[in-house]
């Protein structure tokens, strides 16, 4: 297999970091769902969000493979803060989603490929919708305090 040019190799690194974040989100929502702390309505939303993170992971895995890179494997488990209530779970999920949206904002700026920038832009949008939904579920202001990224 020929070696990737440096910019594309850098893109692979960025995408692999994004994949790792998606994998952590997928695992975390799965763990949250198993706690039985979520009401059915919130659980339904969480499961829908998991499905979307899985879509993101698949999209990036495809792109990394196209670039002859090797996508990372998901860990068996990830660290979690104490999650004793639904609110604890929602707050932690919110922090992950904010991190994801802001990471994609950063990734988008660093990627060299326009196609990959576009994918990153669309996923950043989706993570932002998760932030809105989780914020509103927590009774927090469901939109950013600033008119610009990053999300706070």
């Amino acid at each position: 297999m020929p070696k990737l040019a440096a910019p594309l190799a850098a893109d692979v690194d960025l995408l692999n970091a994004a994949i790792a974040l998606e994998q952590q989100a997928i695992w975390t929502y799965g763990a949250a769902a198993k706690t039985n702390l979520l009401t059915p309505d919130v659980l339904a939303v969480a499961l829908k969000i998991v499905g979307q993170h899985q879509d993101h992971e698949k999209a990036w895995t495809t792109e990394v493979t196209k670039l002859s890179g090797t996508p990372p494997k998901a860990k068996d488990s990830y660290d979690l803060p104490p999650l004793k209530t639904q609110e604890d779970i929602l707050k932690y999920a919110l922090s992950l989603e904010i991190l994801a949206a802001n990471t994609y904002f950063d990734v988008l700026q660093k990627l060299t490929s326009k196609t990959l920038k576009s994918i990153s832009a669309s996923i950043m949008n989706d993570e932002t919708t998760h932030v809105v939904v989780l914020s509103s579920a927590l009774g927090l202001q469901p939109f950013n305090t600033s008119a610009f990224m990053p999300l706070k």
Binding site: T129, N144, A147
Partner: protein
């Protein structure tokens, strides 16, 4: 708050004033060269300038539309509070593009709606606002691909998720699925053109407006995305969103340092 609208703004008078411009320019697209809206902009047909000016114009249009909506008296207090907060954000975006257009040697050109759809209820307004915000998301998604200069790509990328938040809040308020897609990209370029035609969007009229007759109005505005039934979900109700927003705004008014931080 900055008020870029005309004095004495009302939907009817605005339609009358903008009729000439809107009637003359019913086609709008971000594809060069059709992207440009009129002679003045055509003369400055450099890529980044056109896109930046389009975004400036769209933000101006959104601000005017929100102000028109606020004056209808149809919005409940929590919804109005949110709308006004969104106006602030659009004003900040407009200023960012004004700076870019000026930096590129251009003259900022506001866009305006020539023909509003019938807005008879809060629901009508929310659906219309969602349509405009989806157009904004779509335009920024396209802009990210079109801008040549990396710093302008970053500005567009920095604004787009904020517009996405607006879309999501409206979707929830309308009891639509607030997370309908894993890869949301807003309104497509082709549909932006259709919406612009239906709303008779064109350059905002100068202070002295004309009164020329309009062309026959197009129809079909206001569809937005297909909605899932999300009524069983406790989150995303307008009451919850409104209360959260109102609470946060009140907090901010009382104490500048005490904003509703999510963390």
């Amino acid at each position: 708050m900055e008020n870029p609208g005309k004095t004495g703004f009302s939907r009817r008078s605005f339609i009358k004033k903008s009729a000439a411009a809107a009637g003359a320019v019913a086609l709008i697209s971000m594809s060069s060269p059709a992207f440009v809206l009129g002679k003045e902009l055509t003369m400055q047909a450099s890529g980044d300038l056109d896109v930046a000016n389009f975004e400036y114009g769209l933000e101006a249009l959104a601000i005017a539309a929100y102000q028109a909506a606020a004056k209808t008296g149809l919005l409940d207090k929590p919804v109005l509070d949110i709308a006004l907060k969104f106006v602030d954000q659009h004003v900040a975006h407009q200023k960012a593009w004004e700076a870019e257009v000026t930096r590129l040697g251009g003259k900022p050109q506001a866009l305006a709606i020539g023909k509003y759809p019938d807005l008879k209820s809060q629901g009508d307004i929310l659906a219309f606002a969602k349509t405009l915000e989806e157009v904004a998301v779509g335009s920024y998604f396209i802009a990210i691909q079109k801008f040549q200069d990396a710093s302008r790509v970053n500005i567009a990328a920095s604004i787009m998720p904020i517009e996405m938040e607006h879309v999501t809040v409206y979707a929830a308020a309308l009891k639509q699925d607030p997370i309908p897609s894993s890869f949301p990209t807003g309104t497509s370029e082709a549909d932006i053109g259709k919406i612009a035609t239906a709303l008779m969007i064109g350059p905002a009229p100068a202070a002295t407006g004309g009164g020329a007759p309009t062309t026959a109005p197009a129809s079909g505005i206001g569809g937005g995305n297909k909605q899932d039934d999300y009524s069983g979900v406790v989150i995303g109700t307008l009451a919850a969103i409104g209360a959260a927003a109102a609470g946060a705004l009140a907090l901010r008014k009382n104490n500048q340092t005490q904003t509703a931080d999510k963390e």
